[in-house]
Amino acid sequence: MEITLENLTKVFQSKKEEETVAVDNLDITIPSGKLFGLLGPSGCGKSTTLYMISGLLRPTTGKIWFGNEDVTPVPPEERGIGLVFQNYALYPHMTVRQNIMFPLENVKMDKQEGLEKAQEIADLVGIGHLMNRKPKQLSGGQQQRVAIARALVKSPRVLLLDEPLSNLDARLRLQTREEIKRIQRETGITTIFVTHDQEEAMSISDEIVVLREGVTQQVGVPQKVYDNPNNLFVAKFLGTPPINVFDGRVENGKLYIGDADIANYDAPDQEVTIGIRPEGFKIVERSSFKVDVDLVETIGRDTTLIIPHPNDETQSFRAIVDSEYGVQPGDKLKFNVKPSKIHVFNKETGELV
């Protein structure tokens, strides 16, 4: 089922009558049966958006559509959603089975049928053997799965996940994100999840929206957003290590950083901000882009070069090259830059030139 957010706005009012716009005029269509990521730094309104979709928060203005149904006035219990909280909110006094059964008992499902359904869902998320445990006796990853099972058991129309991986350690996080992807594929349920971790969002989402201070920055397939950022914020937010940012200029159809001629670029002459992905550099024999390598970090097949920043010697930028080059600290290199990895932004607005 497709979900549409229409001019969705949430204004929080503090006791001193101060207004904070948490979500500002959001217009997003979330495709049916896909895994959709709400991505942004903390305070960007992503969790607020999720809780408005769940119905636990009421939008100040705007509408939320589930398919053709306007659910804006519908309370959460009637929306048919499954919600997984950041800290799972498993009932500590109930066993795993009782936790998963709870939503079914609320709708007065037949006990035998409910038990079978609970077991089926528990098996799907891989906790079928832990049904008699209490949440305290489970690891973080297992608790997470119980929470997902509890959200899925009543066959909701939408599954909402609030920072699903933030409470897990690094290894478990990798494992769990595959797991979430698998569960989503197997159930085919429209799933929306919130994260501040761009890597997490990019690795499992079918589509993402990048938010900043409650305003949509860009919506799309993660790789496309990464390859074609709309603005400097999106470019900086996506990618590890982050994109390198240089002050430069466009002159006579060419792009310069200092004196170095980087690429041809078709735009009026102006000062610009240039973003270059770390993997966008190529070591070549002849180029006007000359650098001195400061430090070298070799991890597996990639080598990260740390190089003094041409605009400011106290800063540095990173270039990822093939380790076959055998670059050593102190080497003098010449770079070509892959045109697809260059992004040119307006110096004031940060918008794409």
Binding site: L56, G82, F102
Partner: protein, 303 residues
Amino acid sequence: MLEDQSNVKAWFYLLPALILLGIFIFYPIVNAVFLVFVDNYNYQTGTYDGFTLLDNFRYVLSDNNFRMAMLNTMLITFVSVPLSVIIALLISVWLNAIKRMQGFFQTVFFLPYVTNAIAIGMAFAFMFNRRYGLINWFIGLFGIEPVNWVGMGASWGNAMIALIIYITWLTLAFKILVFLSGLQGIDKQYYEAARVDSASKSRVFLKITVPLLSPMIMYITVTSFIGAFKTYTEVIGMFGERLGPPGNDRAMITVVALVYRALDRSGVPGALSEAAAASLILFAITLVFTFINMQVSKKRVHY
């Protein structure tokens, strides 16, 4: 070596407290046990006619006043404790849910705790006054004839109803205080999760609030049982030293009241031994019920 030294030091620090406990707690308990097993103890001379194993118990158990006291105490305990726990729980949940005036109502419900039981007991007795009382006026609105609750010759049943209402109200305050702080410690997300899962209000209360509050409920239940077994002040507050409505003296006697009454007769040989026997019986009952409560809590309380 070091341990020995610190042990000596620890005992030294404990000494003042131990001396006080010894004089005012341990000695009287030992003495009470001693009194139970002597015959015709004379308080003034400190003399007695030899030892006895069961005579004092036998005497107390056959005493009509003691039987009455036991009946009243048990009735007060087993009606007022469950009643006040349930009412306090409902009031706390309601208080916790409202936003406006919460502070005001909290203060109102807490007032009985900081006022004197004797003083409000008299006020309550007046509320139950046959002619001018608020209660009879109120039931009069429904066409019910005035009831003689606590006046001259009031029946045992009527007086007991009035007394239990008073005790229940008086003991609400502390329970609400504890429950409310317990409720405020429950993570709001459990309620949001339950809401998303379409749980009805009654199911949220029974399946989430009560279990998560169960340690508090247990604590309150155990201490309330112990407190109710020792009911005394409330009876004095409402009925004075007659321990009952005028013309029906001692109708509301409790075990602790019986023990205190023995002090008035301390000149009579053996009176103190009866009191000691009564208090030991009460102690045994309290012990048994606390034990039962603890056993129940092992199964029902979720920490």
